[in-house]
């Protein structure tokens, strides 16, 4: 087993942002590792395994540090119901995307990735403009379901950007920033479990997965999954109101750049 320091640091930084801004672990870290020279089968399943554990860990610590109130006993909290809806749509979407891959249904990847990049970029820009609004949004469940379905559709056709669309969708639907982050962290954990299962299914058909990066990515990601919810709790919500849309804009630009880089 080998621990690679710079991989630990990268995983730590991107998981810190993912657990505090609700996006970026897959969107940000994947192209960076490709640029360093790792190939998809060394990166994608490892990020899914790591995010499955760190997403659930982060969700638990968001609950522990009181950014959210999840419940497993009745009455189930509204936050838990929203998380289950987002996770459910995400699980279906990732399963569907694997079926598409399995049957080799080729979609124009560059076009759909550009579309998702522009979508995330626009959502980030709208998020920045919303900062000027003094009126606190009321919760709009139908709008949130629409955004969750849109994010699921994007993931289902293999375009990614699930975290940014769900995260910004929650904010547009009137959910408090700190709580939205907690919800999306836990939901992504469950979605990644299905992703891992899908990859294990693929590996049973002869695709070999390289686990060399797992200890390093897990180490950086896990430490961040504990620390990040604490930082979210301590810093005032107005900081997250600013950080989240700006980070979404950078993720949108990165998604569009990926089309031209890879």
């Amino acid at each position: 087993m080998e621990l690679i320091l710079y991989i630990i640091l990268l995983a730590f930084l991107f998981e810190m942002m993912d657990s505090s801004a609700g996006m970026g672990f897959g969107t940000g870290l994947t192209p960076l590792l490709f640029l360093i020279g790792y190939d998809p089968l060394q990166v994608v399943p490892i990020l899914l395994i790591s995010e499955a554990v760190t997403g659930i860990t982060s969700g638990m610590f968001h609950h522990e540090f009181q950014n959210v109130r999840f419940s497993i006993k009745r009455p189930i909290s509204k936050e838990t119901k929203i998380m289950l809806m987002i996770a459910g749509i995400g699980c279906f979407a990732i399963f569907f995307s694997v079926i598409l891959t399995y049957y080799s249904l080729k979609l124009p990847k560059d076009v759909i990735k550009t579309y998702v990049g522009i979508l995330v970029l626009l959502m980030g820009i709208i998020g920045v403009f919303r900062l000027k609004s003094k009126v606190r949004d009321t919760y709009k469940p139908k709008l949130l379901a629409g955004f969750a379905a849109l994010a699921g559709f994007n993931k289902g056709i293999g375009a990614g950007g699930y975290g940014p669309v769900v995260m910004m969708g929650q904010l547009f639907s009137g959910i408090y920033e700190k709580t939205a982050t907690a919800i999306v962290s836990l939901a992504e954990g469950f979605v990644c479990i299905v992703g891992v299962a899908a990859f294990l299914l693929i590996s049973s058909y002869g695709v070999t997965i390289d686990f060399a990066l797992l200890p390093s990515i897990f180490t950086g990601g896990f430490l961040a999954a504990i620390l990040s919810p604490y930082i979210v709790r301590v810093l005032p919500n107005k900081i997250w109101k600013l950080v989240i849309p700006i980070y979404a804009i950078s993720m949108g630009i990165l998604t569009i750049s990926k089309v031209f880089l890879f």
Partner: protein, 60 residues
């Protein structure tokens, strides 16, 4: 902690109520305080991490 919990019970059905109450009733410095329960959970997470790394060391 109990005070915060009792305050959030008033509007338990509102999404994000617990975080909103923490933000409105406590300063950033007060929110930095870590309870014994928090430390217990962090310790459990570290034990989980160490066990996982031992499994990795054995398998990889």
């Amino acid at each position: 902690m109990e005070e915060i919990n009792s305050q959030t019970d008033v509007f338990q059905d509102e999404i994000g109520s617990i975080a909103k109450v923490l933000d409105s009733k406590m300063t950033a410095v007060e929110r930095m305080k870590i309870t014994k329960h928090n430390l217990k959970r962090i310790s459990m997470a570290i034990i989980f991490y160490l066990i996982t790394m031992l499994i990795f060391a054995a398998l990889l």
